[in-house]
Symmetry: C2
Subunit: 379 residues, 2 copies
């Protein structure tokens, strides 16, 4: 994606941040968006973390894609995460392509775009970078932190790094470390991008070409994993496109083929191929258990947050069993944790969709956290 | 793959075959291999059908790859499909790249390689082409027909087309029609190949390049689907390659990445990218139910074969439920059918692996068919 991203809220972080890879970055931008109004006591802020292909535009119309934000089902006035009541913040992750410091930004040392000279970042780096915005906004403690998929990983990392910075935490459809299958699927996406000769070792910005075909294939692969076998069968089955009969060619005969091609094509208009490499790498590197020498429970030993862990029955990318491992680790250190497995046929994508039980869970859990804080204050 | 395939047994079919697409082919080669000895009564022949990436070299050392044949675990002297007792035949499918009529063969009308001018073929076309070899060998009725995955689809198609040509039939880990998810996964592979500029609309044989990168990505994608999440986790987990620490780069850090890259690279040495397109297309087009106006049971209404349908508990590509639909259709028309779901953590690939219960099932079922035939003859 070579589109210039304009009119985006950015904070230039003047401090130095040492990344997990050992490199130190400074004077770097983080792009963000907010929804609703921060109350006087600054006690109604919710930090939402986006997933691999997301960005800071959680709800309303995304100014770049002109489509609804990625969590418009859940976030907005009167919605589950009610922006009449809460102040919702979302930050484009480090390594992203919507204005935050990432491979399509200028390297101040060389005055050239980074490309793959950008340092490999981690989920921990992403989370650390976000703290600067909270400081800037003067928010000492968040009402809640939430996100699905890679967003959920950030929730876990945040809760572990900053045990007293969020009253509650809602990791959704995620895992404390990527399984071999998930690493394999991400590697498939990376190989698809790197197989595209226009990727040019990450230096495609030096040409007029970009690895759109490779990125589209990566997106198609990922998209298949976001849906369940059952939802694909019910939505598409073997339905034919157009003519109603087989064409005996390699055109899109089946609706599912046409749908996938469309998903691939649409994605390259809004996403940077190098960012895709960096963000999937961060996901694969994420291993909270390893950060604590093989004891996941230690990751949360100082947490003051109340947790609500949510999984979906048909999610085969981050199945319930992996979400339950988080719950077990939280239980083992005496944390306050609830767990809901929501029945849904819609696969991993359920966290983004209009799944009433998810929305009800979010709404009620946030409401109870909000009430608790206010009650505490009254006492 | 531009390697010339030499010293391969071929039958040149002199008859005309009308394909499902409407085209008529004639004087076409079918490449095959046999193992064991055909007995005098020609009653000990088993036709094994290969899967997407297989070929006619079922067992022993494959003369092209110098590796063991794809079903060396099951087929050989003293093995489950005992070549001391049975005469095993396998034919490279139409559209394949190991000597049978396919996109890398010469179009006799133009004296050029076919490439994507080769007609789109179906599983039914593949099966029809194989009958000519049986006629040539003078085999009127097979002891059994068997195969896994696309091999299983051919078993079903054969049993339906030729209800009195096999005493028994063993479809393994397959489906009577491709699910939307399986079409999606095949389409992903095709898009990866077609995204490779060296594919050159299928005319890569006119250049010195071939779409190796695209084909490797397609193979990686497929390979992930052949294994279960659990088997990947147990075999690879998050084990690191080489150094034992993260490299903060896009090299293969994890063993699973290195393994996948190796699978991709190895595959392009032995497989033709256009063949991959044609064969996956045939799989997606396969819909035995549709051939019989929506009634799968009608497909088998005249069958004289005794069936043994086999599935694997961890196969998510062709899950047990899809294999059971075949059993139900066979039951509904009063066919003689047994069904085994074998517990295995190894995913779809189980049919190729040393899974003792599979081998026992094959051995015993074939033995019982063999005895029945001999008893019948005695009477």
């Amino acid at each position: 994606m070579n589109k210039e991203v304009k009119n985006i809220k950015k904070l230039i972080v003047n401090q130095s941040l040492e990344l997990d890879c050992g490199k130190i970055i400074k004077n770097f931008p983080i792009a963000y968006e907010t929804y609703g109004t921060l109350n006087k006591s600054k006690s109604n802020a919710i930090l939402a973390f986006h997933a691999l292909s997301g960005d800071q535009f959680v709800t309303n119309i995304n100014p770049i894609t002109k489509q609804e934000g990625w969590w418009a089902t859940a976030v907005g006035p009167g919605k589950a995460i009610d922006t009449n009541k809460y102040f919702v913040i979302c930050i484009n992750v480090l390594g992203g392509c919507m204005g935050s410091f990432g491979p399509k930004e200028i390297n101040p040392d060389t005055n050239e775009l980074f490309g793959t000279t950008f340092p490999v970042i981690t989920i921990r780096d992403m989370v650390k970078a976000q703290i600067y915005l909270l400081e800037y906004l003067g928010i000492d403690k968040l009402l809640s932190i939430t996100g699905g998929s890679m967003g959920g990983m950030q929730v876990l990392q945040f809760a572990s790094l900053y045990p007293n910075k969020a009253h509650s935490a809602i990791p959704i459809a995620c895992s404390a470390s990527h399984s071999a299958q998930n690493i394999a699927l991400n590697e498939l996406g990376r190989q698809a991008i790197m197989a595209d000769p226009t990727w040019n070792n990450g230096n495609y910005f030096k040409t007029n070409l970009s690895p759109d075909k490779g990125l589209a294939v990566a997106r198609m692969a990922a998209h298949i994993t976001y849906l369940s076998k059952k939802s694909l069968q019910e939505k598409f089955g073997r339905k034919l496109q157009d003519t109603g009969s087989l064409k005996f060619s390699f055109d899109a005969d089946f609706q599912i083929e046409s749908y996938l091609r469309h998903q691939g094509t649409k994605f390259v208009d809004r996403f940077d191929a190098n960012s895709y490499l960096y963000i999937t790498r961060a996901m694969d590197y994420f291993d909270l258990e390893k950060q604590f020498n093989g004891n996941l429970s230690s990751a949360f030993k100082n947490t003051k947050s109340k947790f609500c862990v949510i999984s979906f029955s048909s999610d085969w990318l981050y199945p319930t069993i992996e979400n339950k491992e988080i719950v077990m680790a939280l239980n083992a250190c005496g944390a306050n944790v609830g767990f809901v497995e929501i029945n849904s046929d819609k696969g991993h994508d359920s966290f983004l969709l209009n799944v009433p039980k998810l929305l009800k869970t979010l709404s009620e859990f946030l409401n109870s956290t909000y009430k608790e804080i206010n009650n505490e204050k009254r006492i």
